[in-house]
C-alpha cells in the first residue's frame, strides 16, 4: 500500500513538474518537485524506502530528460538514503530541522548530480551557486507547505466531523 502511494506521489510530481513548472517560475523551473517527494518519503518512511523511491524517481527523470540514465537516479537514491537515515537518527518533526534538511538535500543532490557530469566530462556548470540556492529555497518552501498540508489534513477532517456531530 505504501509502495503504491509512493509510486503515485512520484508520478504526480513528474506530471506536475513537466506541465506546471514552466508556467510557475518563468520557465526556468527553480524547483524539483520529484526531489521534494523523495525527501518527504525518506523522512516519513526511512532510508530503504527513500533510497528506492529516489532511485526510481531519478531513473524516470533521467529517461525523460536528455541526460545519462542513472546520474539522476544515483543522486536521488543517495539523497533518499541519507535523508532517511537522518530522519531515523534525529527528531526532525519541527519546522526548522525539516527546512534545513530540504536545503541540504537539494545541495547534496546538486553536488552529486553536477559532480558526476563534470567527472565524466559531459557537461560544465560554470557558477551554478545562484541556481542551486534558488532551487534549494524553492524546494524547501514547497516541502514545508506539503508537510504542513499533509499533517494538518487529518485534524481538519476530524474537526469537521466533530462540528457536524454537535
Amino acid at each position: 500500500m505504501k509502495a503504491v502511494a509512493v509510486l503515485i506521489a512520484i508520478a504526480l510530481a513528474l506530471a506536475l513538474q513537466t506541465t506546471l513548472a514552466r508556467f510557475l517560475v518563468g520557465g526556468t523551473a527553480a524547483v524539483d518537485l520529484v526531489l521534494v517527494v523523495v525527501v518527504y518519503v525518506a523522512l516519513t518512511s526511512g532510508p530503504v524506502t527513500g533510497m528506492f523511491a529516489g532511485s526510481l524517481a531519478g531513473l524516470v527523470q533521467d529517461a525523460l530528460s536528455s541526460g545519462i540514465i542513472g546520474v539522476g537516479g544515483l543522486a536521488k537514491s543517495v539523497v533518499g538514503f541519507v535523508t532517511g537515515a537522518i530522519g531515523q537518527q534525529f527528531i526532525v518533526t519541527a519546522a526548522l530541522p525539516r527546512l534545513l534538511i530540504f536545503l541540504a538535500a537539494t545541495a547534496a543532490h546538486a553536488a552529486v548530480f553536477m559532480g558526476l557530469y563534470v567527472l565524466l566530462g559531459l557537461r560544465s556548470f560554470p557558477s551554478p551557486w545562484a541556481a542551486i540556492a534558488s532551487q534549494a529555497v524553492g524546494n524547501a518552501a514547497i516541502g514545508m507547505i506539503a508537510f504542513t498540508l499533509i499533517e494538518s489534513l487529518p485534524g481538519v477532517v476530524e474537526r469537521r466531523r466533530m462540528r457536524r456531530r454537535l
Binding site: R22, A29, L64, S65, I68, I69, G72, V78, L116
Partner: protein, 283 residues
Amino acid sequence: MALLDIRQRTGYLFVGLTVGHIVLISAQVNTARGVPVLEAVTFGVFAEVQRAASTAIGSLRSSWTDYVALQEVRRENERLRTEVAQLQVRLQQERALAERARTLESLLDLRSEAELPTVAATVIAGGASPDFRTMTVDKGTADGVRADMAVIAPAGVVGRVITPTPRAAKVQLLIDRNAAAGALVERSRAQGVAVGTGGELRLDYVSGTADVEVGDTVVTSGIDGIYPKGFVIGQIESVERGQGAFSAIVVRPAVDFSSLEAVLIVVAPPAASAKDAAQGPRE
C-alpha cells in the same frame, strides 16, 4: 522473513544500488550511440501521460476562459495573436531575405531558404528535470518530424528535436547547457557559436577585435546544418574584451521560453532545402 532480513541490511542495499547505477551510467557513456532504447521507450510512454495532463489542464484553462471571460474578446485576441505570430514569422523570413541579398547569395539559395517547410506543433510539457532545458511537443515521426530538425517560434530560434516518437517529440532548447548553434552578429557579420548556459546564451569564439556592441542582434549562421540561416537567436547583453583571443559575450535569447505554447518545426534540414532549390523552383 528473508525479505525482512535484507531490509535490515540497508548498507548493503545502498552499496548494491549505487554500484547498479554506476554500471548503468558506465554502459551508456562508453557505448551509447544515438538515443538509448530505455530513454526512447520511457519518453514515448510518458509523452502520452504528458499529453493527457496537458489536455486536462488545457480543458480546465479553456473552460475557464470560455465561460468566465468575455468570449468575443478572447476570439478577437486569438485572431490578432495568430495574425501577429504570422507577421512575425514573415518578418523573420524577410529579415533572412534582406540579409542574404546583402551578402549576394545565389537566387536559388534565397528561394530555398525563405520558403521553409514547417509543421506547427503545440507544447504539451516542459522538462522533467530542472537541470535540462527541454520541452515536449505534440508532433512526432507520424507528422514527418525527425531528430535534429530545427524548432522555431515567431520571436526566433527555440531549439532542435532530439527524441522523436510517433506522436510526440522532445525538443532541446537552445538555452540548454548541451545546446549550441552557429551564429553571427547581424550588423558586423562577426561569426561565433551560440552556446546555452541554462538560462541565457554565450557567444563563443568571437575574436576580441571583432566589431560587437551591446544591443546587436545575433542570428543563426546556418553553418551547423540544423538551423536555417538568418533566424534571430537574441540580442547581445554584455561584451567583455579580456586579454585572451576571444571576447566574453552574453546573449539574451529572443524567445521567452516560459510562455511558449506553439512552435514551428522545420521539417527539411537546410542542406536538403538547398538541394531542392538547386533542382528547380517549386510550384
